[in-house]
Symmetry: C2
Subunit: 280 residues, 2 copies
């Protein structure tokens, strides 16, 4: 593939930024990759990995000449509200959200395949230049993603249920287990293979990023959390009254969704996520 951009400036060089750099190299998407981070130590780590053509401790020098401004954050309404008014004339501001990641962070965590087969959602504000939008979409396809365009408000609601609520629930159950007086933390850890350990992976995600997600997508998160709590109360009542039929019906319905996710190529069909047998 020929270069889509003369220069791409990455502001932030963690899991996502470094994976984008690796995937840009793989696809030959940019003639020059510039990188900026505000932490001197991260800059040195990025230099050691070697995925950028130039690294900058000065933001203005890094982004010079940029014509399209984008981001990779998990909440889109807030970034349009907060950043939009400050974008200079002549710069196209098109927020993006690649639905991909792992529980690891930092410039060493990135790899070129992170976005392959995963969706990237673009949320152009009203009046966005069509050519700039298509150029950014081509770029994400070049990184391996499939691209979808939607309104920021709808994005935030979709992600509230597919990502933010799952993280909130995972953080909550791990916190509850940690606080119980009747079961020790050692017991929780020893017997975690019964289901609990699956939750701990996403409850190990970056705390600063996730604090900001919940502060910035408050309304949509509270909306889906309200629905979750109502459903949980109904389930609690079914257990209390011994309503086996209600339990069985829900547990059967949820199986079908798992199959659809595997059929759509969004997860592996291998038992236990294909955890290696020796370290299972």
């Amino acid at each position: 593939m020929s270069a889509i951009f003369e220069k791409v400036a990455l502001i932030g060089l963690g899991l996502i930024g470094s994976s984008m750099a690796h995937a840009m190299r793989r696809g030959g998407l940019a003639s020059h990759i510039a990188g900026y981070t505000h932490r001197a130590e991260t800059l040195e780590r990025a230099r050691a990995v070697g995925f950028a053509d130039s690294l900058h401790a000065d933001l203005a020098a890094c982004v010079k000449d940029a014509a399209i401004l984008s981001d990779v954050g998990s909440v889109k309404g807030a970034v349009i509200r907060d950043v939009g008014p400050h974008v200079p004339e002549g710069v196209h501001f098109i927020p993006a959200h690649p639905i991909a990641g792992t529980e690891q962070s930092g410039p060493e965590a990135g790899f070129a395949e992170l976005f392959d087969g995963r969706w990237c959602i673009l949320t152009p504000p009203p009046g966005t230049d069509a050519a700039a939008l298509e150029k950014l979409a081509s770029f994400w396809r070049g990184l391996g993603s499939e691209v979808e365009v939607m309104e920021a408000r709808h994005h935030d609601l979709v992600l509230a249920i597919t990502s933010h609520l799952p993280h909130l629930i995972a953080y909550n159950i791990v916190g509850t287990a940690d606080d119980l007086e009747t079961v020790t933390q050692g017991e929780v850890i020893k017997y975690s293979a019964g289901g609990f350990r699956d939750f701990t992976r996403i409850a190990a995600s970056d705390p600063t990023m996730w604090r900001d997600v919940f502060l910035n997508n408050r309304e949509a998160v509270l909306e889906v959390l309200g629905r979750f709590s109502e459903d949980l109360s109904a389930l609690q009542r079914a257990i209390r009254w011994g309503d086996g039929e209600a339990l069985f019906n829900l547990f059967t319905r949820t199986r079908a969704i798992r199959r659809s996710i595997i059929d759509a190529g969004q997860d592996t069909a291998a038992p236990n996520f294909g955890r290696g047998k020796k370290d299972q």
Copy 2:
């Protein structure tokens, strides 16, 4: 290892029964493995896999000569209450629970390594013969497990938090996502890599088994669910009031538990559970 039992009769030939047979062969733990299932079709599938020395459609013929009676269920109080009174004199009844499994079921799903490095909890009723207990413990160690002995009541509480509540929460969130009118099922599936897909694995577990778990461990499940709901309300309030510090503190604390689980060898440290890159 020399045979621990002259004969082991497996009542039920699904994931756990077939894995036990494979692991018994690997360790040479039994001179004869007999198998029973009430479904003729499962009996034929077990015959095709070939892990038993004899297969029986008649339960009495299968279990003839047994001196220790055990089980592998997820709830121990109920099985002691319901089965205990019917155990004939001369038979030692010692319930067991291997904390191991996958979301797959049936006689083809088993493999010899399922129990390796996982815990198996034995819950002997008061007055259990010490020699019989030690024999069963040796058997589970021979299958690859580490063995712990505890009271049935405590087992049921520990598993309520490490296994039953995680399953309940997973079933609930998948059900909530399926019911939303504002987000389509197609969107939930497409963007599930943001966290949701991790929950769908355990929400794809066997519905009949899990209905019975919740009906049989009602009290302990309702107790830990009450705690979970209280904690979730506090978290909801922190989001509503924009209390970033409370969120950050919880999200930091939960990271440590993940590290302990990996250090204890109860999960893999590979990003995304080591899902194969190509089918990630």
